[in-house]
Symmetry: none
Subunit: 417 residues, 2 copies
């Protein structure tokens, strides 16, 4: 089945609110074999709304509408729905009781505009709202489905989980869609494509499968999509493609789905009972921040030092001042001394360091903005690698933090650099 | 002028990526008097893409397309654009030079697929990409405009700012829309509303102006919107409303527009030639990360210590171990000792500290998850404040970092707590 997702609301058209509903609905529909062919957003304008209903319902099997069901004057979706389906409003007793209960629990009396939310289109199936006051609607017509839900994200999500997903799970007709995303870093999109080679060898042509490259500043995601007759068939196709991708570019793949590098590192450190300490200059605390986003990181993260001054590099990390004067703070030698220094100072198994020029100023011909040295130290030795991460300050910090954590991952897994 | 915003990409249709581009583009178009009538999202499918081009360009004066301009096989927007405008591809020398320069700066050689990004539709005006490798395109036809940009948010934003906004500023006719956003923190949305009182006293009824409350975990933004005949008229209405808002709730307003707390603090510290050092436990480096996002922060940020272990609190900050044992690491006493310790150790004017329970584990009845002590020390003395920031780990870190920086702001401006 093919679906269109339609959002209604002026707040979206003026860019005041980022639309997170469409992505959520698409993901949920996908999981039960309903593909989304198109997403649309229109404003609080009855003519536009009805026109978009007509277009979408003509093109697709499923239309999911959100927004404009609230109690105030600018919520006009319900009346547009009535016009579109040529029906009128009736009181839904269960919805009315829910509105009253909603206010009772808050020690308040509902106003007429609140009770009016229990008025629903006569010809629909009511989707009760377990969290808020506006019910949703389902219309079935010639094997097609038209669903209307409130735009408030948590109300919409509750209805989607409790009603929409089970509804389509029962009706899913054959096709199943599955996705698998592999996350790579340390290699540019085009070099990764070269490494992977002919896509037809990964994904058989006409197999209902696709491979997408999704780049971001900290790495490229590889997304395998399979359309199949059964979950088992889709999963086997994906497994196959994943194996081939891993055989071509495995060392760049650090995680899958929503997994973050700091979670991957955290798991590896915890398994090996190793501790980590970091000394950051140009990343300014971002590495420590990322590591400590992971629950339980206090078990392996010992401390972090953000050494923005030479004094701190000397006092907190034991970097010889002469080394800084001789090579400059942004140098292989200082990166190595920082990584070694924090490891010894913190009595940790691994020391990690960054020193670089985040910009926008401070660059020179020899040491341009974006130049970053990343240092690594463990009991087997100390080294530093040189990178250039471009000229946007925040981006330099993000890419440097990712490369530093990736260096730890490769060392722990004994992958080549 | 009316616009439609069109996003292209399977990653959007499967809900893998939340579309933030549409809101950004809408906001920017609005600011120069171009209203957005509709937003659409379609997948990487040439037929669908061309169909949506036809629909949108027929209905509106301006179409803004993003996505699908990358170098890999799944990027098909360029060929769809060529078909739609019945044109072919030519090399754009400036774009080619930019691609080569992009790789040169990274010490890499561009591949053919990278250089191919300099191939652009013959009949378009090229919008150069100052950050990435894919140029954008502008087509003008019968007084209508068709713009194509990459989907990578920061590249799209750079093109919008440098090209799209100035382009339509020249061509805008009639109504002007202006926004002004004031950022508050340290007060809940409903308390802020109470403080501000009757909105009609801030914004004259029927004036074409509106006031919106936009809450987020780290504070509530107040957004004034004015529709007017001229920029001068809109600006004067906004100035008036802003003055009234400031007289009612001024001390909670720390900045305006996209200004971040760390920029506000940075400016205050630089003006006063004061230095800051931070000792973080539960915020895990986020405060240092935020401070060092600001260019020039090395002038006032001396160092940061992320003390995740008691050993580090003792060794790096001089907190007496007995104090930790007696009061616990999450306590007023330890927060104060950390703030004082980092100030003295770093020889800085101001010491700032956090210690708390970010969760999800580690809480108790007496010290629940979300409890955070924030310490502050300057030559006039040392203090600590107690907060509870809820039970989501990342949110606790964000809210604690915001409250810590806000404490510095209030101290520097001598506002009451």
């Amino acid at each position: 089945m093919m679906a269109e997702v339609l959002s209604i609301g002026d707040e979206l058209l003026i860019g005041q609110v980022i639309n997170t509903n469409q992505a959520y609905i698409a993901e949920q529909l996908n999981s039960v074999g309903v593909s989304v062919a198109r997403m649309m957003t229109v404003g609080d304008d009855q003519t536009m709304i009805i026109k978009s209903f007509e277009e979408a319902f003509a093109r697709c099997d499923v239309v999911v509408v959100t927004g404009g069901l609230g109690p105030t004057h600018d919520d006009i979706t319900r009346s547009a729905v009535c016009k579109f389906f040529q029906t009128d409003l009736v009181v839904n007793e269960e919805a009315l009781e829910r509105v009253r209960e909603f206010f009772r629990r808050r020690g308040l009396a509902p106003r007429k505009i609140n009770e009016d939310q229990a008025l629903v289109p006569r010809s629909c199936t009511v989707i009760q709202n377990s969290i808020g006051t506006a019910p949703g609607y389902l219309f079935e017509q010639r094997g097609k489905y038209f669903i209307v839900m409130p735009g408030v994200p948590f109300e919409m999500k509750a209805m989607t989980k409790s009603f929409v997903v089970p509804f389509f799970t029962q009706r899913a007709s054959g096709v199943v869609i599955q996705h698998r995303t592999l996350k790579t870093t340390g290699i540019g999109e085009s070099f990764l494509a070269e490494q992977i080679g002919d896509v037809n060898e990964i994904i058989p042509p006409n197999s209902g499968m696709t491979l997408a490259f999704l780049p971001s500043p900290t790495g490229t995601r590889l997304r395998i999509t399979a359309l199949a007759k059964s979950i088992a068939e889709a999963e086997s196709g994906i497994r196959n493609a994943e194996e081939k991708l891993r055989s071509k570019a495995g060392k760049y793949i650090y995680g899958a789905e929503e997994e973050e590098m700091e979670q991957v590192i955290g798991k590896l450190l915890a398994e090996r009972r190793l501790t980590l300490a970091v000394a950051e200059s140009c990343t300014g605390g971002l590495i420590a921040d990322r590591i400590t986003n992971v629950p339980g990181s206090s078990n392996y993260f010992e401390r972090g030092i953000v050494s923005y001054s030479n004094e701190s590099k000397v006092a907190d990390l034991g970097v010889p001042l002469a080394l800084i004067h001789h090579h400059g703070a942004v140098s292989r030698e200082v990166a190595e001394a920082m990584a070694f220094g924090i490891r010894v100072k913190a009595n940790a198994d691994i020391g990690l360091s960054t020193t670089g020029i985040a910009g926008p100023t401070g660059g020179s011909a020899e040491k341009p903005v974006g130049l970053v040295w990343i240092g690594y130290s463990d009991r087997n030795g100390t080294l530093a690698l040189r990178f250039n991460f471009g000229d946007d300050r925040r981006r330099v910090k993000e890419r440097a933090s990712q490369a530093a954590l990736e260096l730890v991952r490769r060392k722990l897994l004994k992958l080549d650099q």
